[in-house]
Every structure is written in structure tokens, then in C-alpha cells.
Symmetry: C2
Subunit: 187 residues, 2 copies
DNA sequence: GTTTTCTTTTGACAATTGTCAAAAAAGGAA
DNA sequence: TTCCTTTTTTGACAATTGTCAAAAGAAAAC
């Protein structure tokens, strides 16, 4: 739980009462490798903080698994579309390494928002930071070659390459596994 | 201003005092075609609501203008990275048609957040909706062909094609103008 | 240690998309 | 209208990336 508190304070330092209310509302979740935190076609009702481990979000398109994010230690995790819209999503969240998370339901979170303005501010700020990251990823996808995207990933997240199979990384970069393999051998 | 109120209420109905405070804080901005609302290298200090007109966000990469969003009536407009981080951005916001906007500075908005919790909630919710849109766009960019992205754009925003030069649309879709021209001639 | 399974690499070829250059078309200004 | 500028289309060719199939390598199970 300390990791969460530390992570939060880097975004926005909430008041003690807000932190106490939040920490009471959190549930510890442990999930084994290869299991699923969220399955497509269901409503994802929870927001998670990943304390330890590694996950990925993917969906099925034309019979292929399409990975569009990875989550590592100290990331916030949810099936965003589903969590926000309260509708079933197409996303699967799969556990890539045995993981420990802290979860809170949408209902409880919204109750806390009513009681603690600063908690809602925190979430607003976190959302904004995640938006900026997404924006950067979109730009890379829109205007950089496969090789450039790979090199950018190497720089920003070298740890991904040690922990994730190549096929999933290729999918995340929007290229085929074969192309990524060839790019790697030419660097 | 009515358009803004109506737009807001579709996201989250704020209280009357919050609306009054917000509407007092807004400045009307009129900008002529071809002018710039934001220039790269500067801090974008304002969040805008576009009442009438049309804008685009782009940046320069290797001597080329790279368009990554268009704004139309009833969209919220800002150079997001710069507005959030308070740092100079690389983005230019250019006016494509004579436009009318309502603007508010980051400072004033944050003051209003302190005074009106529901205003901050509104912005949180709007951010979340814009996040979802961005997510959809990233997915399209990552896993669809140029033709599919074009057809998707045709469906979701046919008005873009009437109002925006082809070269800018091609850039937005992440393809060359020649390719888009060829795709169009084959549909 | 051996087998089985999963992951990565390689080859051959096809499809997609980009680049450069020029022509055609459309839109505005005088 | 006529001229000028901007936008769009077309052609030829090159570069990038994808697909399919098979081989090689690594990891996990027995």
C-alpha cells in the first residue's frame, strides 16, 4: 500500500482523511500468471493499482490477439472504456506474471469523490497524465516507421523487452512479429 | 454561450452557481481564418470551447506539417500537453475557418475548481470521454489499413471531408496525400 | 536428459504505402 | 473573364511491411 501512497503523492498530495478513506476502500487482489483480470464482453467495474507484476490488455480482431498496452509496477490498470462507460468492453486483461494489485469499484470510488474533493482532483490529474502518454503513443504510431517506434520503445521502456514475448511487443507496436524480428537483427 | 451550457450538460449537469462562475470567467475570442490560436514553442495557457468554426492541431516533423487533430463546433480545444504540463509545446493550432471560441486560463480554471467541486468533476468526466476517443483512434492507427481508417472516418465524420483539404486529412490518417487520393478514386 | 511446447528467426514473395515529378482541376483575386 | 495560387490526381518506381511456411532456438514439462 505504501507504493500506492508514494505513487499518488507524485501526482497530487491528497489529505490524510482522503487517504485513509481510500486505503480502507481498497481490496488486495492476487492473480496468477496466465489468468484474466478482465474478460471481453463483461463490464470492468474496478480500477486497479498494480503493486507487483505485469499485465497486458488485448482484444481479438480477425482471429488475432491485438495487444495495445502493457502494465507494470505502479501503473493504474483498468479496462478504461468499460470502466468509464459502464458497458461491456472488448478488452481482455491478461496476467503475464503473478501479480498483486489493489482494487476499488466504480461505485465506491464515486462515493469517495463525493466525500473527498481532493480525491477527485487526484484522479483528474492522473487521467490527464495518462492522456498525455496516449497522445505521445498516437503520434509515434501516426508518423514514425516501425523501426523508429521500436527504437523509441527501447529507450523509454527497455524492461519491456526482457519481460514480454516478441509477438506481443510487435502487436503493441502495430507491426508483425517477423518484421520486428528483422528490425532487431539489423540494429 | 448557450451552446457551451448545452454541451456541458450532456457530460455532467453542474450547479447553477458553478455555471454562473464559469460563464463569468469566460472570454469570447474571435479568430480569422489562417491565423494561429497557439504557436509552437509557447505555453498554451488557455482552454477553449469552440462555438463556431474549425481548427486543426499540427506540428512540424522533418519539414512536414503533421496534423493530428481537427476541432469542430462544440469541441473543447487546447494544446493539451502544454496546458496540462505548463510547458512550451510543439503544437500549432491553426484556424481553418473564421471561428468563435470561449476561453479560460488555467489559473482561473484551477481557482474555480477550488470553489466548485462539481466543475472539477465535469472536467474529469470530459477528460475521460476525450481519452476514450483517443483510445479508439490509436486502435485504428495501430491495427487498420489506410483504406479502413479512411472508411471509418467517412462514417464517423463525413463533414470533415467537405471542410478540410485532402492533404491535411491524409496527414491526420497517417498516410501520404497521394495514397489517400488513390484510395478515394477506388471506393 | 529427453520430449514437448512455445518463441524467435529466416526465406521467398506479395501487397501496401511512400516519394518524386508532373499534369489536371478547383478556387480566389484582380 | 483571366490569371494566379492552391489542391488534387496520376504515373513510375522504390521502400517498407505483411503473409505464409519452415527451421532454429529456448523454455517448460515429464
Amino acid at each position: 500500500m505504501n507504493a500506492l501512497h508514494h505513487c499518488i503523492s507524485q501526482y497530487y498530495p491528497i489529505s490524510l482523511p482522503a487517504w485513509e478513506a481510500l486505503s480502507k476502500a481498497l481490496t488486495r487482489v492476487e492473480v496468477p500468471k496466465s489468468s484474466f483480470l478482465v474478460k471481453e464482453g463483461t463490464v470492468c467495474n474496478k480500477l486497479y493499482f498494480l503493486e507487483q507484476g505485469c499485465l497486458r490488455g488485448y482484444y481479438n480482431l480477425d482471429g488475432k490477439e491485438v495487444t495495445y498496452w502493457f502494465g507494470f509496477e505502479h501503473n493504474f490498470i483498468t479496462s478504461f472504456y468499460s470502466f468509464i462507460s459502464r458497458k461491456p468492453g472488448i478488452e481482455n486483461i491478461q496476467v503475464l506474471e503473478d501479480s498483486t494489485l489493489w482494487g476499488i469499484s466504480a461505485e465506491v470510488l464515486h462515493q469517495l469523490f463525493d466525500q473527498h474533493h481532493d480525491l477527485e482532483r487526484l484522479v483528474r490529474i492522473i487521467n490527464e497524465q495518462y492522456y498525455i502518454r496516449l497522445e505521445e503513443r498516437l503520434m509515434a504510431m501516426q508518423f514514425k516507421t516501425a523501426r523508429e517506434r521500436y527504437e523509441q520503445l527501447l529507450e523509454s521502456s527497455p524492461h519491456i523487452l526482457q519481460r514480454i514475448p516478441l509477438g506481443q511487443i510487435a502487436s503493441y507496436l502495430g507491426i508483425s512479429q517477423e518484421t520486428l524480428s528483422r528490425i532487431r537483427s539489423q540494429v
